[in-house]
């Protein structure tokens, strides 16, 4: 495979060092290369730092209005069932403004692959509270730390999806160290394979680092994912109908 034939284009990404987006996107690209599906894949770009993924992915991409990724992906997949559609979004997109679309897309069992980047914060807009911000976590809109009495508890979407009948694959993974990255890539691969084989809605939540807006160094951010986030957001497979 020549560099031009790879899913991820050669060159640098604009993400901050240790950012989970860069790791997740390279993983998706590697999986697409391994499965040989680049030329029949249509991806979505979210709103936020990852909007520029169309500069990195060498495949058809649509940039979606904030929160509407699952709806846009539904329209594409229904018209192009033989194409592979991945829906990629963050916690603001999929769990806040677009929660209705996310849940209904999963509940309809759309045969797509949804990749959810959970970094517990709004990145591009400067570090506001996300639906997944941990209790006590400081953001620019929770300066004293998130309090459940005012803003509720962080949303656990995999657990919510597990109450639905339609999704065929639900797994929460993390990218803070090599063993977890390996497992994350396997989950992404399975989520694509399910779609290719027509099984239905597959969902991978990726616990990701945002050192810039967590105001942490890279190592500290990785530890935050492995210790703080993972203790609230269980890293596990919630469902795999294919066993």
């Amino acid at each position: 495979m020549t560099p031009e034939e790879r899913t991820i284009r050669p060159g640098r990404m604009h993400y901050c060092p240790v950012c989970g987006h860069a790791i997740a996107q390279r993983m998706i690209g590697e999986v697409m290369d391994e499965l040989g599906i680049r030329e029949r894949t249509i991806g979505t770009a979210p709103v936020g730092c990852a909007v520029l993924l169309y500069d990195y992915f060498n495949c058809d991409i649509i940039e979606c209005p904030h929160g509407r990724i699952p709806a846009v992906a539904t329209g594409i997949k229904r018209m192009r069932p033989d194409n592979v559609v991945f829906a990629y979004g963050g916690d603001g997109d999929l769990l806040s403004i677009g929660l209705a679309e996310t849940i209904h897309c999963a509940n309809r069992g759309e045969n797509i692959t949804m990749i959810f980047i959970n970094n517990a914060v709004y990145g591009m807009t400067g570090g506001q509270m996300a639906p997944t911000t941990l209790i006590g976590q400081k953001t620019i809109t929770t300066p004293e730390g998130r309090m459940s009495t005012e803003t509720g508890a962080p949303l656990r979407i995999c657990e919510m999806f597990a109450t639905l009948a339609s999704p065929v694959f639900i797994e929460r993974v993390a990218v803070h160290d090599a063993p977890h990255m390996q497992r994350a890539k396997q989950a992404i691969r399975k989520a694509f394979l399910n779609q290719i084989e027509g099984r239905g809605f597959s969902f991978v939540e990726i616990l990701s680092m945002c050192p810039t807006h967590w105001k942490m160094g890279g190592k500290e951010a990785c530890q935050f994912v492995g210790n703080e986030m993972a203790s609230y957001f269980s890293i596990k497979k919630f469902r795999d109908v294919d066993g």
């Binding site: 169309y54 649509i62 509407r68 846009v72 329209g75 194409n83």
Partner: protein, 357 residues
């Protein structure tokens, strides 16, 4: 070519026209007075090889249309006023990304939840943008069930031709009214190559449907200039209207949709009473047919705009800058909002009163 006659509601005529125009995707959310559209398409569209989805909201519906239409297929949604308000963000994206699609607004009374009677109070929203940013929709205004059918087919063709979303703007009366119509098949279903469509990049460079222009300096300005040039082309090529009794008219009644139908009756009655009055009926609300209006206006001294609103299209009549050959043209208004429609005899009395002055 088939020429069947049938008695149908406007909403059903529009739905059947969409299928015959090759629409392959519909997503919508229930709202009165347009529920016949989803009822009809839920049954007929899958049988015609298309996809019907009852979306979880109007936001989801229009964004499903965004995705479906971005693959190059003909796609549509329909709703009524409050639901169309919810769709405005995505309509801005569709216009910005130049993705053709068909959007029907079967207008009801507003503002707010309003009521479920027919209305024309969304004229500003449809013709001025509605969503954010500098963009335009092609807006078509039927006045009969036959035109609900004909203009729907036309809308899909225009959308593909100009790469622009097209809105059918009809008051709820037109959606709910049943008339006998001729079901004409479109001449060509699909003729335009959509090399921008998302189909997978095999054998070509990847296509990207996007509306964000952050990185390159002036890129968004250039995109705006490209859109502006297209809108100017549409404005020069696509001003549709109908003038009746215009040859010797001294008074022009200007109306679209149901008020135009009522005005047509009133104009004919006034003619029988010896009043030289004509009817001007815009069929494209954007672009507004200023050229034909100016031709008529060159002969008229008095103008009466009739709308089922507090007066919105009247602003476009004023902006049409009726020529200076007309000394002190009077533009009067007959209309109210909130589900009101012009009673034929009241409108006739108004025309006769203007004629006497």
């Amino acid at each position: 070519m088939e020429h069947e006659k049938t008695l149908v509601m406007g909403n059903v005529a529009m739905s059947e026209a969409a299928i015959r125009a090759g629409c392959r995707f519909y997503a919508g959310y229930p709202i009165t007075p347009q529920n016949e559209v989803s009822e009809y398409l839920a049954q007929k569209l899958p049988a015609a090889g298309g996809v019907f989805i009852q979306a979880e909201s109007e936001l989801a519906a229009i964004n499903m249309v965004f995705g479906a239409a971005a693959t190059g297929e003909r796609a549509m949604t329909s709703s009524s006023s409050p639901g169309i308000s919810l769709m405005q963000e995505a309509i801005s994206y569709l216009a910005a990304a130049q993705i053709p699609c068909f959007i029907a607004n079967i207008m009801r009374g507003g503002p707010g939840l309003g009521n479920i009677q027919g209305s024309q109070a969304d004229y500003f929203q449809a013709t001025r943008g509605g969503g954010h940013g500098d963009y335009r929709l092609i807006v078509l205004a039927p006045w009969s069930v036959q035109e609900m059918y004909d203009l729907t087919i036309r809308a899909f063709e225009l959308g593909d031709y100009y790469r622009n979303p097209v809105m059918l703007l009809a008051d709820g009366i037109l959606g709910q009214m049943a008339e006998s119509i001729e079901l004409k098949d479109p001449v060509q279903k699909k003729s335009i190559t959509k090399d921008w469509a998302l189909t997978g990049c095999a054998g070509r460079k990847p296509n990207v449907v996007r509306t964000l222009y952050l990185q390159q300096k002036d890129a968004l300005e250039e995109k705006n200039m490209e859109l502006k040039a297209k809108y100017e082309t549409i404005t020069s090529e696509l001003q549709l209207s109908e003038t009746r009794f215009g040859d010797d008219a001294e008074i022009a009644v200007i109306a679209y949709g149901t008020p135009a139908r009522i005005a047509h009756w009133a104009v004919k009655q006034a003619r029988e009473a010896g009043v030289k009055v004509g009817l001007f009926r815009p069929i494209t609300l954007w672009p507004f047919p200023v050229l034909e209006l100016r031709k008529l206006a060159a002969r008229c001294r008095k103008f009466l705009v009739v709308e089922m609103s507090q007066g919105q299209m009247i602003e476009d009549v004023r902006l049409a800058r009726i020529p200076a050959t007309t000394v002190d043209p009077k533009i009067e208004f007959f209309g109210r909002g909130g589900g009101w429609y012009p009673k034929p005899k009241e409108l006739l009395a108004k025309i006769l009163e203007i004629a006497k002055r």
